[in-house]
Symmetry: C3
Subunit: 279 residues, 3 copies
């Protein structure tokens, strides 16, 4: 999966919203079969996916197209995941991820997965999930609203009640080379609050943010774009790598650190995120 600064959601049964995806410059788009769709409509929403997906493809959608399935413990999960595969989605978003067994179950579909950590159990297991071998796990997202409900806490504007879990999820993602997507900001008309919240996420190390309305996309794209210095460093490192390869050296150092695959991967991601061509 390419780096995601912004992941814009729309419910699978709201075709008029999905049809507008191409208007908004998100790095990825999520068609949602989970919380956004009432229980009674889930089956028909899934049945309607081929038409709307085909329509998006005809419009040459730039960003990656993902499907948020229902949780692996729900009765819809299997059919949702099959739909994601058949529709050749760029990946599946797996809500309420808690165990490596669930991850293996979803991984069998063979498409990249973004796991949403949004329960106490999910946070307790997040390092094991991030470290799971051969899991197709491409990124982790932190779902603050469901998390706080699960632990029976209360959300505040300052957010200290989720600082521990929010920090632990991004740490686990970064330790194992995964993308990290920050929480949904629910006050959809508060652009300044959204920007501040996005900046906190970026300070913690998140690479992007889940967006639930289009107006959040441009703000988050700006907040999560790499700085000129980061781009310059990444470019210099990849040049040094090319020189080392050309002169037959397998390993080399850059800025005093041995350069290994995770460091190269990060540099490539920064350039991919920072270049206008990825949009």
């Amino acid at each position: 999966m390419r780096p995601i600064r912004t992941l814009l959601f729309a419910p699978a049964n709201r075709h008029e919203l999905i049809a507008k995806f191409p208007r908004y410059p998100a790095d990825a788009y999520a068609i949602d079969l989970e919380d956004g769709v009432p229980e009674a409509d889930k089956k028909s929403a899934r049945a309607g996916l081929p038409g709307i997906v085909e329509s998006l493809r005809k419009q040459d959608l730039k960003g990656q197209l993902l499907l948020r399935t229902n949780a692996s413990r729900s009765r819809n999960a299997e059919a949702d995941l099959s739909a994601a595969v058949q529709l050749r989605m760029d990946g599946a978003i797996m809500p309420k991820l808690e165990t490596t067994a669930e991850l293996r179950q979803f991984g069998s579909a063979g498409i990249p997965i973004i796991g949403v950590i949004e329960t106490a159990r999910g946070v307790v297991n997040v390092e094991a999930l991030a470290a799971a071998q051969g899991s197709h796990l491409s990124g982790l997202a932190f779902g603050a609203e469901d998390f706080i409900t699960d632990v029976r806490g209360r959300r505040t504007a300052e957010g200290l009640e989720v600082l521990y879990a929010r920090s632990r999820v991004v740490l686990a993602a970064r330790a194992y080379g995964l993308q990290a997507l920050d929480l949904v900001f629910v006050n959809i008309r508060d652009d300044e609050g959204f920007r501040r919240d996005a900046e906190v996420g970026r300070q913690l190390g998140y690479g992007g943010k889940m967006c639930i309305v289009p107006r959040q996309v441009e703000i988050a794209n700006a907040v999560f774009s790499p700085s000129a210095e980061e781009i310059e460093n990444a470019r210099a490192l990849l040049q040094a790598y090319d020189s080392a390869q050309a002169s037959g050296r397998g390993v080399f150092e850059f800025n005093g650190a041995m350069v290994d695959e995770p460091i190269l991967k990060r540099a490539r991601e920064i350039l991919e995120t920072g270049l206008p061509s990825t949009r």
Copy 2:
């Protein structure tokens, strides 16, 4: 053990304080043999328990009656735990809990245990403690004062120095379906400070608070009572469960999530906490 919003402590050698328990509407009362009793008085305090406990029972004490023993590594632990069993206490509070071996030792008494996490070792092991099978562990409490002494830190009004440990303890409790009791607020005359601190605890997910003076009880009862919305949700979920049972379905979904035993348990707890009849 029934849900505890408030756990009021009094030292075991202060019979005049214990005798007043029935006046205060705590969900549970703790007779303390640990820090509240000087070393020289511990034996006589223990010997005096039958009389004061019998007196409380004659007054038909509504809340649960617990005994805080000395730490399992102290010479008093065994005799304290025996006293809790012989006096048919509703549970034992186990201070400075650090290892699953200690938990097994206390568990052999066969009564419910609330473990107090208040050392660096206890926090490092808290997930293992919460997950321990067949341990009679019913809840976890976080002891901030002893914790900060153990790590050689300093307490502040804002409390950022314990946010990590305080968050980690409640997370472990919630992940494994245990009750979670928040720290003691030591400024016993600062009601407004106590209320704010209790609210922070509730935001983090704690279900109740340890109280060291009676005036803290009513404040904490109010802060930790479930909201009308929580009570309504719990009621609706249990009705849906009853319908599913009546129609022969073993599993069912509610609000898009498969309902399992932890979810049912939580709903029952909310109703139990929220109903006036539990007081």
Copy 3:
């Protein structure tokens, strides 16, 4: 290693700075072969160590003398570590510590080690590192700048973005009886900011701080010195221990807790840190 409130760094190729170590009352001094020395100068900087170390010894340097090597994954690590042994340094500072394998590799040199936790992997493994048996690990330090770069976050003045990692590192150190050294404060002319930052570190439980300019040393010495009460408690505990030993009792209690080796060790450290004679 004796307790360290202040650890003053100077680059190995800056002999004029190292020569001034005896002027500043740090508890320990670090000659730095890592980030402070450009790649091209590392070899010559290492070659120049015997002269400058001998010169310091002739001046009867009071504090402990340590060598910060390059990270164990770098090509310089082995030669750096050999230099630390041959120069009979009081210990080695091991940057970017991530795995117990690295710790074993360094431990084979047989000198005390302070490991710097400053990557996502290091934080994820910090409990395992702190608990490693026979590792010669004497302390842990938290490196905030490299950490935030590794997780791709951003530093702020308030520091909430590192609160999780900073808390977790000190907790692991304290749980396993290790020294804990807090982060480098980079605004070298902001004494008041440095003092506030040092106080936050102390509140969290850190016993000392890494200093990158001499003016930070006196401030940190003051912030991290034990209080009169701590010194009095430590003295009373060791007296009680001596009495128990004299009367033939192997174990004893003090302030309601069974006194074991970690508690005795801490009391001795407090007295060692607090007594003017250690300076």
